[in-house]
């Protein structure tokens, strides 16, 4: 017995009629104010566009140098990978893996899975395991810490400019833009809409 004419609020379990949304509308829970769903204009197209941009930017930010540190001619230069993996060689393997997974692996995985899901919906091909892809996406979301890392980068920059000359590489700028695109993808992701796309024959907006 499945009742698709109903939804229930995730934060207070209030039973509600399924919202009928026009583009640009947002449905809130009347009891606790939790966002049930928000239908953005051309959600599929916007998500694909920002997702692809984010992926290209993330690949770019792994290709160039991230920051250069110059203390009276003693220069050290790191890439995004090294910022995490240098710890690995300093016998802090657990820490380096945590950092690397949070700032590169999970954001990349989330973006790739979203793009894969959008492609399958576009092709109108919905195999059973596609539900697991969607579950994985929403399960991984809280562990992608790109924007937190970026604040960390800014903090360490301010710390270091007082003692040495700092130069920013191309990676820094592309990672900054990646954070912007990624934040946009997150704000577009809507659990209710994405799951409803998964149902057979559902027209996506």
């Amino acid at each position: 017995m499945v009742k698709t004419q109903y939804v229930a609020c995730d934060h207070c379990d209030l039973l509600l009629d399924a919202p009928v949304l026009h583009e640009g509308d947002c449905a809130l829970c009347p009891r606790c104010g939790h966002k049930i769903s928000r239908l953005r204009r051309q959600l599929h197209a916007q998500l694909s566009a920002f997702g692809m941009t984010a992926l290209v930017l993330l690949v770019m930010s792994n290709a160039f140098s991230f920051m250069m540190f110059n203390l009276n001619g003693n220069i050290s230069e790191i890439t995004l990978w090294q910022s995490a993996l240098n710890l690995y060689f300093e016998q802090y393997k657990a820490l380096s893996l945590i950092v690397f997974i949070f700032i590169v692996v999970i954001p990349a995985l989330v973006v790739c899975l979203i793009l894969f899901f959008l492609l399958m919906i576009k092709l109108d091909y919905r195999p059973k395991p596609l539900a697991n892809v969607l579950r994985l996406i929403f399960g991984l979301l809280p562990w992608a810490m790109a924007e937190v890392f970026f604040v960390g980068v800014l903090v360490s920059l301010v710390k270091l400019v007082t003692i040495a000359q700092m130069d920013l590489g191309w990676s820094f700028w592309s990672y900054a833009l990646f954070c912007v695109c990624y934040a946009k993808v997150l704000s577009l992701l809507d659990r209710y809409q994405l799951w409803s796309w998964l149902e057979q024959g559902h027209r996506y907006g």
């Binding site: 379990d13 209030l14 050290s76 380096s96 539900a131 270091l160």
Partner: protein, 213 residues
């Protein structure tokens, strides 16, 4: 079992799938859309949250006492803890950054501990705060949880960048692992907490004793 709140899916014999949000009948055990196990409320929500919180609280002690960073400058070795680093930043004249680090690595974890313990208390006993403000507190912990990782990322970057042998080099301290553990455990604790139990009415003392008998 507590009473489910009025008008909730649970009170109407329906289950809201926690993974995909499909509303299905109570008699189903597996969600027909996403294959997740269907449950009225997260299993052992309070026990899991409290267990993770207490573990995190214990780890919070070494996280604050052990050094986060070990700096070697011209063979002179300095150990800085979280609070020590903030004081140092403030004295060096970068007050705004000191405030950012203070909020991210001291205020946020402490706030999370207080709110989550309070919410667990609310779910077990009744309290004066309205359900809506409690759920807002829960949303706050969910939102701020990740931001405590800032300090770990700063240490990782400084260690990666500053390796000039004996002239100046930075090593991570043991505090980093404890602190990363605190952040990750409190994030798990916030996820293990089911905000819907805040709306269910806890049993009164009479009902509890009658249920036991």
């Amino acid at each position: 079992m507590a009473d489910y709140s009025e008008g909730s899916a649970a009170a109407n014999g329906l289950v809201n799938c926690t993974e995909c949000g499909l509303v299905a009948g109570q008699q189903l055990t597996v969600c027909p859309r996403c294959n997740a196990r269907l449950r009225q409320r997260y299993a052992y929500s309070l026990q899991m949250t409290l267990a993770l919180l207490i573990t995190a609280l214990l780890l919070f002690i070494p996280a604050n006492l052990l050094p986060m960073m070990v700096t070697e400058k011209l063979s002179q070795v300095d150990h800085t803890t979280i609070l020590g680093g903030i004081v140092l930043l403030w004295e060096e004249g970068s007050e705004p950054i000191a405030v950012v680090v203070f909020v991210a690595s001291v205020v946020v974890p402490v706030l999370k501990f207080i709110i989550l313990f309070y919410l667990c208390f609310c779910a077990m006993f009744d309290s004066t705060l309205s359900e809506k403000s409690r759920v807002n507190l829960y949303r706050l912990t969910e939102f701020i949880g990740r931001w405590s990782m800032v300090d770990i990322f700063v240490v990782a970057l400084l260690v990666a960048l500053i390796q000039l042998d004996h002239l100046l080099n930075v090593q991570p301290g043991n505090g980093t692992i404890a602190f990363a553990g605190v952040v990750i455990l409190t994030m798990f604790a916030a996820h293990a907490f089911d905000p819907r139990i805040l709306w269910d009415k806890p049993l009164t003392r009479d009902e509890k004793t009658s249920a036991r008998e």
